[in-house]
C-alpha cells in the first residue's frame, strides 16, 4: 500500500474514493448492501445473513457490493440491513433472516418494490 505523504494527498485520495474507483474498490457498485455486524448483530444472526446475501446475490447475478458496518442503533430489530439503490434514499430493514433476505433480494433489490420490516431512520447525521 502506498503511503500517504501529505494532507493534500489524503484529500486527493478521499476525492478519488468519493467519485469511485471502478477498477478495484468493491464499495462503488450502484447497489449497495450493508449488514450491521456489531457484536449484538452477529449474536442475532447477522453473520448468516451476510453470508446469505454474499452467496445469493452472486448466484442470482445481481451486481452489487456487500459490506459489513458497525451498529446502526436499532438493537430491537437486529439483524438490520441497509440497502442503497441508485438515486434512492437508503432503506433500513429490520428482523432480517434468510427468508426475509430472499424477499429483499427478489423484491426490493431487483424491482425496487418495498417489503415489510422497514425501519424508519430516526436520526440526523451531522
Amino acid at each position: 500500500m502506498e503511503k500517504i505523504k501529505s494532507y493534500e494527498e489524503l484529500k486527493a485520495l478521499r476525492e478519488t474514493l468519493r467519485i469511485g474507483r471502478p477498477d478495484k474498490s468493491s464499495e462503488d457498485k450502484p447497489v449497495r448492501v450493508k449488514v450491521a455486524m456489531a457484536t449484538c448483530g452477529i449474536a442475532s444472526g447477522a453473520k448468516e445473513v451476510l453470508d446469505y446475501f454474499t452467496a445469493e446475490l452472486k448466484k442470482r447475478s445481481v451486481s452489487c457490493s456487500i459490506s459489513q458496518t458497525g451498529c446502526m442503533g436499532y438493537c430491537y430489530a437486529e439483524p438490520t440491513v441497509e440497502i442503497i439503490l441508485p438515486n434512492r434514499e437508503p432503506v433500513v430493514f429490520g428482523y432480517v433472516d434468510t427468508v426475509r433476505a430472499d424477499e429483499i433480494i427478489e423484491k426490493y433489490i431487483k424491482t425496487g418494490e418495498l417489503v415489510d420490516g422497514i425501519i424508519p431512520t430516526n436520526y440526523e447525521r451531522r
Binding site: R14, S67, I119, P120, E124, R125, R126
Partner: protein, 599 residues
Amino acid sequence: MQLMVCAGNSCRHHNSEDVITRIKWRIETDEELMNSVQVIQTACFGLCASGTIIKVLPGNIFYANVKPEDTDEIINEHIINGRVVERLLYHPDDQKVITGTKSLNRKQIRIALRNCGVVNPENIDHCIKHNSYLAMGKVLTEYSPAETIEIIKKSGLRGRGGGGFPCGLKWEIASKNDSDQKYVVCNADEGDPGAFMDRSILEGDPHAVLESMAICGYCIGASKGLIYIRAEYPLAIKRLKIAIEQAKNYGLLGVDILGTGFNFDISLRYGAGAFVCGEETALIHSMEGKRGEPTNKPPFPAQSGYLGKPTNVNNVETFANIPQIILNGADWFASIGTEKSKGTKVFALAGKINNVGLIEVPMGTTLREIIYEIGGGIRGGKKFKAVQTGGPSGGCLTEKHLDIPIDYESLTQAGSMMGSGGMIVMDEDDCMVSVAKFYLDFIVEESCGKCAPCRIGNKRLYEMLDKITQGKGTLEDLERLKNLCNVIKDTSLCGLGQTSPNPVLSTMENFAEEYYEHVVDKKCRSGHCKSLYYYVVSDELCVGCGACRRCCPVHAITGDKKQIHHIDPDICIRCGECIEKCSFDAITIELEPKRVTVL
C-alpha cells in the same frame, strides 16, 4: 401506491394488527386495488402516542390515531378517490423531515456515531471516503497545538466517561507538563451493566478514535497512544487491530505522519474486565502490570501517569467527537446542547422499553422524549416506574424527573448522574429495593478492596438490603442504611466507593414508600421479592389431583386425594413448579399468605 403501516410494539397496542388485517383484506378482495396498492409493515415511526401510524407513498401523507374502523375511509377517499382524509392527518411541524422512509420523529443527531453503521470498519478506504483522518490532516498542517486546544476548549466538549471534566482543559494541563515522553490513553474499559456505547463506536468506527488520539498526541506533545480495552470485547479488539495496521500501512500512524514530522504510534492494552479499572489511576496501574487499584489524586495522571509520565486519559466517546469538532468548528458544536453541556450524548437504551437501541441525542433532550418517542414507550403497555442512569454510580429517576432536560448538572441535581451513558428503563413490575440490591451486589463483586469503607461498607449495605427484601428489615435498618451510605460516600478512596451508595440513596429518596412497605407491612408491591409473596391454592378451583404435591421439591404441599391442597408458606421456596404443573389454574401468587388451621 404504498401504504406503510407501523407494526412496532407500541402501535400494536393501538391495534395496528387489526388495522393491517383489515386493510389487507379490503385490498385482497378488490382486484383493482390488488394491482395498484401495496401494504408494507414497518418498524417504529417514533410517534408512539399517536398510533396506529400509516404513511402513504407517494406524497408522504401521514395518518395518525388510525383505528381499524378508519381504514375503509382511507381506502375509499384517499386511495380510490385521491382525496386526503383531513380528519386523520398528522401535521408535523417540520415538513422536510418526512420524505421517503424516514421517521417523523428525528430527535437524534449523530456526531460521535456519525460513521457508525455507515462505513465498513475493516476497510480504511471506505472510512477515508467518509472523512476519516481529514481532521487529523487539518490539525497537523493548519493549526498549532495551542490553537487546537483552544478549539476544543471553545467547543465546550466535556468528558463523556461520566465525570464531565472539560476536555480542552484536560489537554491543556497535560500539554503544559514538560517531559521527555507523554502518553495518550483511551479508556475503553466500559463496565456499567447494560452499557454498550463505547463497544459500538469501536466496532463501528475505530478510525475516529485512532485519529483523535493522534490529534490529542499532537496537542499535548505525546508520541505514544495506548488503548485500554477489556478482553471481553474481542470483536472491538479485532477491528482496532485491523484499523491500526491499515492506518500504519497508509502512514497515517507511525513516523512522520503526512510529512509533518509528527510521530504517533498506538498500541492496545487489555483489561481483564474489572470495573474499578475504568477509574483512571487504577487503569494506569493495570496497564503497568500492577494490581488494578486506584491511588489518591493528586498527583493527577496529567502530572504523573503511565510509567510516571504525564498522561492524558479520555473516554472513547469523547475522542469520537473530536474529528467533527475540528471539521465543523467549535461554534457549530457549541450551538448544540445546553448552556453548560454542549453537543450530544450517546445512550445505550435498555430495559423494559419497546425500541432497545443505541441512540445519540443533543444534550437537553428530556427523558420523556427519549423513553416515549425514541424508545417507543414501555414494553407491554405497562406503567413507567423509573429510569436508571449512570450505572452503579448513578441513581434512579422517576416520573417527576421525566421533563428535565438532560445534562451533567441537571442529572446530578436530580440525584443521579450522566455516567457513561447506560440508561435502563424500569416498569411497575420492578422492585426498587431489589434494583438497589442488584447494583450493590455488582459493587461488592467489583470493589478492589483497597479501602475499608468500600470493601466492608458496601458488603454491609448489601446485607441490609438483602434482609429488607426478605421481609426481615426494621425501621432502624433504614436509618442505619442511610447513615452508612453517607459514610461510604464521604470516606472512600476513589470514585467507585464515593458513588456506590447512589443507587440506594436515590431509591430511598424517590421510592421511600416502597422501602417502608418492605419493612413495616412486609410487602413487595411489584411481587418481585421472593420472601414477600406467596403461592396460594384456590379453594374453588383445586380438585385435589395431587399433581402439585408430587412435583414440589421441598414437600411444602399437603392434601389428601380429592381434597383441597395447601401450600405451607414457611417451607415453600417459590420455585413456581406447582403453577406449571397445575392443569386447573388453581395456584396463584398472592401478597398475603393463606393460613389454614390444621384440626
